[in-house]
Symmetry: C2
Subunit: 494 residues, 2 copies
């Protein structure tokens, strides 16, 4: 039976994915400094094995045969999602895949070297080469998938997301934000004038911050029997669903940045831990994509973790673990602090979408050939000035050189961040509608009702439907920026 | 060129070995408690991939073809060692390999369940089945390799070791020890009567013990850029040569057991770290086998770490890290403590070989069919009484049920432990002969000359010759128990 062959095939791929996930996490957390070269070689070799096994022509034959077999609905979905993934993996010729990998690795290395000095001129030709290859890639993917080129790129990160839906939503959001941001900043200024911002500084040993972080993780539903928290230079959530590896970094002079980072990664971790176990090795049992993943992390960070109700529950915990009795009035202005800035990763929830929309627009221009890399710094600057009122023309390091995505060849990824933020707000609104008591539950440290909704509507769905379809089934409507806009108005409108 | 194909083949196997080594270490050190099932499944699947790749018939063809190619001497050795390994891996039919794995896994599980209660009757039939399969295995290996059955088993762990050499050496050693042990115990009693043993107890926080351990590791030559020390239930040395993962366990009421464990594992780690890097992916570039590995760990633990000269250097470090000013008179009686006991893993360097020789004799009897499993408790007891003067007849848990080796199907492994101890003493003697100043160097914390000899004569040789041949080239003579005997006489003879 071909279905059984596919099941064994997925198990074998799953073992390689397990190894790659743990090796990748280990590299950032426990590897000896000199172990990197051998680790890179081993991981490249295992990735090659994975790609060869995943794209072997027999798999295509088994998929065709399995579609004619008597399968139950879940099995049918599993085969169809595997086919989607197989087509996405086999639609580029293997010599192109290798050429692209070499080009983007070289470009990323160049970027790492050139970025600290903002050396745009050195970096520019490498990025130009990546853009040209990405145009080729998008066109090949578009042909196979019957999609527009940019949609074919987004399809890798968020199956089903299309510019046709995303662009009007982003347009609406941008119009709102450009008007809203000055208003929200004014409102904040007035609040700070009345009640000056008080620094939340102190002396917070790493071990106590870690204990506080773990207490928070457990409270919001993270299962410490299937995961752990350690330290890395850049916080992430890695590992495998049965053993989720979360990391953070600590400063001993303040606790809020590590704690908010932990809450964010916990959102990713909850999603992974609650995927359907019996389908773990099939694509249909894996996390859907980048925007739903980000909706889960942002949900815990923004909808829960920056909700004043949450701090009714959390402040006593801070006091217990850090012996620091901050009041709500001390703390909230920090978790709701907004400001204009050049850097996406440092942005707050009001300004972040403007950074993303800028990239979303520019990468479509680049892809379509309406913009060339040499003109990127000017194009970036014009958009930054229009949306955030900041110039980056003399500072390419903090302009178009700030992100790893383009140098590493990831085009079509950026929209996921803001789509995640929109979906998180839409999910929250759907919960509040059927459970108006949710703030009171959260204030009491009771996350069960919120998590039950997320388990039923998001986590258990894994990759059994497209990104927009999961959102529609969960919330009863298609992507609607009104919920996010209302969320920002309520929290920052003054 | 077939040699190039073999090189790529070895690199691919090396990536899987890298993954298995790190996943195995991670399981014991950082894995979440609930991650075990998925980890076991992933590792079984990767092991299966490794076995299929390693034993694929093409490899045999490439080896044949490569032997006819123009290769330099190192390449010739590499191909010939790969051939040895290929023959050892392919000499059993794959259905037998699977059947044996199932049988020994079941038997090991039964052993884990039955051992705590010393339930020999439940365990006996499972072990009988393992013994019967091992007889079959030995006979098949013997046919292919042209060796006697027990030699064919030892060959897997220590290529080149033969009963023809080992048996007379063990006979001589046993005769000596049976006479020596009572004499050494008497001498110890007299020393303790004059100067009673003083407990080395105190309050030693784990972090300080770890810092002391790392200082010792560095001092004896361990490269912390290519390795680390963490905690596990059972100390081991795992990982890969570029990233050696050592572990230990701590008690906070005494420091000596963790420290001696660290020194032992450091010996394994030094060997791995100093293997020839350019051959890392070929069998000829890997550690030779169990007995040479054990000679390296025992060298650091016994020849260096229990040498009084070492403590001239080490006691001030203990004082610096633990704020505990023990004298040589306090400490040495502990590192030289000997006593009769039932348990191999708890034995000191005088009694340990008697435990090993008993197993070496019994497993040959079992294999030859001169002994059946049902008669093992009596046979074990008779030999324990004769060599150590202890009965285990009423205590099978601490008799033939104490070790994991037989239940898991590892016959022919036990001699490695004592061969390692003999070789360590012989290597030490070879060093002293050309470098009579070695004790003074060690007392000064200078391990460079000792390590230079070991690097040139053991570590850099990797698997380029058989176990006995490496010893012969290094020390100028074949295995000679006189050095170990002299070592025991000098240290424990009174």
């Amino acid at each position: 039976m071909s279905y059984a062959k596919l099941d064994a095939h997925c198990r074998s791929l799953g073992a390689l994915e397990h190894a790659l996930a743990i090796l990748g996490t280990d590299e950032a957390t426990h590897m000896a400094p000199g172990g990197g070269e051998q680790r890179a070689e081993a991981m490249a070799s295992l990735s090659g094995m994975h790609h060869r096994q995943a794209t072997t022509p027999e798999v295509g034959d088994w998929i065709e045969a399995a579609k004619a077999e008597a399968l139950d609905p879940e099995q049918k979905t599993a085969v169809s999602e595997l086919e989607r993934s197989y087509i996405n993996m086999t639609c580029l010729p293997s010599d192109f895949v290798e050429r692209k990998m070499r080009t983007s690795m070289r470009s990323e290395q160049l970027w790492r070297a050139a970025r600290p000095n903002g050396d745009w001129k050195t970096f520019e030709p490498a990025l130009q080469e990546v853009v040209e290859m990405t145009r080729e890639e998008a066109s090949m993917r578009a042909d196979v998938l019957g999609l527009a080129p940019y949609d074919a790129l987004m399809e890798q990160f968020d199956p089903g997301n299309r510019t046709e839906t995303v662009t009007p939503v982003f347009e609406e959001l941008k119009s709102f934000l450009v008007e809203f941001l000055p208003r929200a900043l004014d409102a904040q200024e007035q609040r700070h004038a009345k009640c000056p911002l008080k620094a939340l500084s102190g002396d917070y040993p790493v071990e106590r911050q870690k204990a506080l972080g773990i207490a928070m993780m457990k409270a919001v539903g993270f299962d410490m029997n299937h995961g752990s928290l350690s330290i890395s230079d850049h916080p992430f959530c890695g590992g495998v669903p049965s053993d989720v590896r979360m990391t953070t970094r600590y400063r001993t002079d303040e606790f809020l940045s590590a704690l908010m980072g932990i809450l964010h990664e916990t959102g990713h971790g909850l999603y992974e831990q609650n995927l359907p176990k019996q389908w773990a090795h099939w694509p249909s049992g894996k996390a859907r994509g980048m925007s739903i993943h980000e909706s889960q992390s942002l949900f815990v960070e923004k909808q829960i973790g920056r909700n004043p109700a949450f701090w009714t529950f959390a402040l006593p915990l801070v006091d217990r673990y850090l012996q620091e009795n901050w009041s709500m009035e001390d703390l909230l202005p920090h978790v709701h602090l907004i400001k204009r800035g050049k850097i996406r990763v440092d942005a707050d929830e009001v300004t972040y979408p403007l950074h993303v929309i800028l990239r979303y627009e520019l990468e479509q221009e680049l892809l379509a050939g309406r913009l060339e890399v040499k003109d990127l710094p000017e194009a970036w600057d014009i958009r930054m000035q229009a949306s955030l009122g900041i110039s980056t023309l003399d500072d390419p390091k903090n302009g178009p050189m700030q992100d790893v995505h383009w140098p590493s060849g990831a085009f079509g990824y950026f929209p996921s961040y803001t789509l995640g933020a929109l979906m998180a707000a839409q999910q929250w609104a759907a919960i509040v509608k059927i459970n108006p008591d949710v703030d009171r539950q959260i204030a009491a440290g009771d996350f069960e009702a919120v998590n039950a909704w997320r388990r039923d509507n998001i986590w258990s769905k894994a990759s059994t439907a497209s990104t927009p379809e999961i959102l529609r089934q969960a919330t009863g409507e298609v992507l609607n920026p009104a919920y996010f806009i209302a969320h920002l108005e309520a929290r920052y409108g003054g």
